[in-house]
Assembly symmetry: C2
Homo-oligomer: 352 residues x 2
């Protein structure tokens, strides 16, 4: 709630800029509609985790001014996510998102949605300038948004080349390729970025001083496996979860997604099973989908997932223990393990 | 030629980053193809004008190291242009660009082109960081790219809302709206940005010291009318130029473009002529296009253009004379009027 209250502040600052540029009222109204439709309707996990991480680092609740600044960075991550989702849905030809039509399918929007996604990205730098210009951390904030956006676009590219919606070729798939896509397309912006933003805001230098541990590297080393684990859960739940559980109908199989499940099955299946997967995966046909699911069952995807989950949990727990709980230069923040365990606990054995 | 030689350096740095991230070879090859297809094939006016402006400001030819840095900024403007054109062509459903198929229409590309345009934009910040990180002007460079990109996206939005390709409504058009679109969508990034980048690189402070003239404001006040004049020429040549002259067939009338010509005709026409324009503009029909051109002739668009051109030339000449020819703080650059007259002379009475 406190986090959500910052959204209208940010949105109204963006709309005020449009007014200050004497944009026509029609454009102001349209932009407002685009922002309200695409930015605030998600689970806000990524945005909230910026604020939560700053609170854990500082070890206390935030005063209103610093809360607003942390929340602006949180919303900037939500804007980044909206930018990726609006354009991804166009590229994938998707129909719905968060239970409503994808933005590009809304009346009078269409391919203007491409430019809307560019504006969502551009808005990040407007928000960050408005709230951080002059701060010692300002340049580091800009650079991490550049870097992480670019990484995510790299991940999107390998995903699009590996699993085009209309051209099934399972030879392109592998668990290794899956891992690469997941790390670049999802883990970096969803897990590393929120924590790194919080650390930057708390004054942790992005280049470690001589003799000091590289805290961003430690964070990355925990958060990338965490993000990978999260996405593998997402892939597994898409296959195994009921619509009541996951709030949607899984479509990864019919959509030719390069999911952990198909890659696991490809690594385990016989030549006969492989032939069926080749002709049945990525087809808009319920019978084909059922054949794929049958093979997932036969090769033991469920058992593999259980093993994977236990191993991921134990591995990440060890990585967290290795993080040095160091202070920032000002001495008013500590890189507590709780930063990472709070993520892990939210995720471990989740079923939705 | 010297400018063109910098492109492969920039491209290879971008590809090396992909390799350093262990991107699959397929993605590296694809990215290279996208860069080579979309970035270097234009007239390079915008990119060259960064280098030319730095040379005029410094009043001497550039040594190799500073030439390369100026050229990297020039190429960054060309990347920005490519980013806009690749996405604009998708939104407009265009067929060809620079005499070849639009990128999204190339085999095996399709809507991946959306992500390719995002990578073209992201590449700007990679190039600028690689060549300017640590320079006193680095932050100003980042901010101006943010600002100008956002302005251009605002201009694109009002263009898309004013002149959707498929829904003709001339009531939305006006010379005032035309001006707004032209300034935001074209003039700022094509004319102001290259000069501002050169000034930033030469150390002109983006916030004027007390008592000093705001040189960026002066530059803006000349370059926005210049960009407007350039685009009005472009609009006029699209209507009046022969294919031999302009190297393409004008399609603004059939494409429902919010061009200077239609807005001038709307301001001058009778009710009868207006009725014909309403039913004939923006139609994929040569007879309708001919009727529009006939009315352009009847209301005297050509004479208006001649008057406009003379007035623009005189007005801009006066604005240039008003610019204070001040030095940068280091005293090794002067804001010579030649920065602006060289643009005006290239443009005045051009017929292609
Ligand atoms: Mg998708
Ligand atoms: Mg996708
Ligand atoms: Mg999923
Ligand atoms: Mg176009
Ligand atoms: Mg357009
Ligand atoms: Mg034109």
């Amino acid at each position: 709630k406190r986090f959500e209250d910052v959204y209208p502040i940010v949105r109204d600052q963006l709309l005020k800029q449009f007014k200050d540029h004497s944009m026509p009222q029609e454009a102001i109204d349209y932009y407002r509609r685009s922002l309200d439709y695409n930015v605030p309707g998600g689970k806000l996990n990524r945005g909230l985790s910026v604020v939560d991480t700053v609170e854990i680092l500082k070890g206390r609740p935030l005063a209103q001014k610093e809360y607003t600044k942390a929340a602006v960075l949180g919303w900037a991550v939500e804007f980044l996510q909206a930018y990726f989702l609006v354009s991804d849905d166009i590229m994938d030809g998707s129909i719905t998102r968060r239970g409503q039509p994808c933005w590009y399918r809304v009346e009078d929007v269409g391919l203007i949605a491409i430019n809307d996604s560019l504006l969502l990205e551009g808005a990040i730098y407007q928000m960050v300038r408005e709230h951080f210009k002059g701060d010692p951390c300002y340049l580091d904030l800009l650079e991490i948004f550049h870097e992480v956006s670019y990484n995510t676009e790299m991940g999107q590219l390998i995903d699009l080349l590996t699993a085009p919606e209309d051209k099934v070729d399972l030879n392109k798939f592998s668990l290794e390729r899956h891992q690469k896509i997941v790390i670049y397309k999802t883990a970096i912006y969803s897990f590393y970025l929120p924590v790194a933003l919080a650390m930057i805001m708390c004054g942790y230098p992005t280049t470690a001083p001589a003799g000091q541990p590289d805290v961003y590297k430690y964070a990355m080393d925990v958060l990338i496996p965490l993000g990978e684990y999260f996405q593998i859960q997402d892939d597994y739940l898409d296959y195994s979860g009921t619509p009541e559980q996951i709030g949607k109908i899984g479509t990864d199989i019919v959509d030719n997604k390069c999911s952990w499940c198909i890659n696991t099955a490809l690594a385990l299946c016989s030549a006969e099973q492989r032939a069926i997967l080749d002709t049945s995966y990525g087809r808009k046909d319920p019978a084909a989908e059922a054949r794929v699911k049958e093979i997932f069952g036969q090769v033991g995807v469920d058992k593999r997932y259980e093993e994977y989950e236990q191993d991921a949990h134990d591995r990440i727990t060890k990585l967290i223990k290795a993080v040095p709980e160091v202070s920032n230069p000002a001495g008013d923040a500590v890189l507590r393990h709780e930063v990472f365990t709070s993520f892990l606990n939210k995720i471990y054995k989740r079923t939705k």
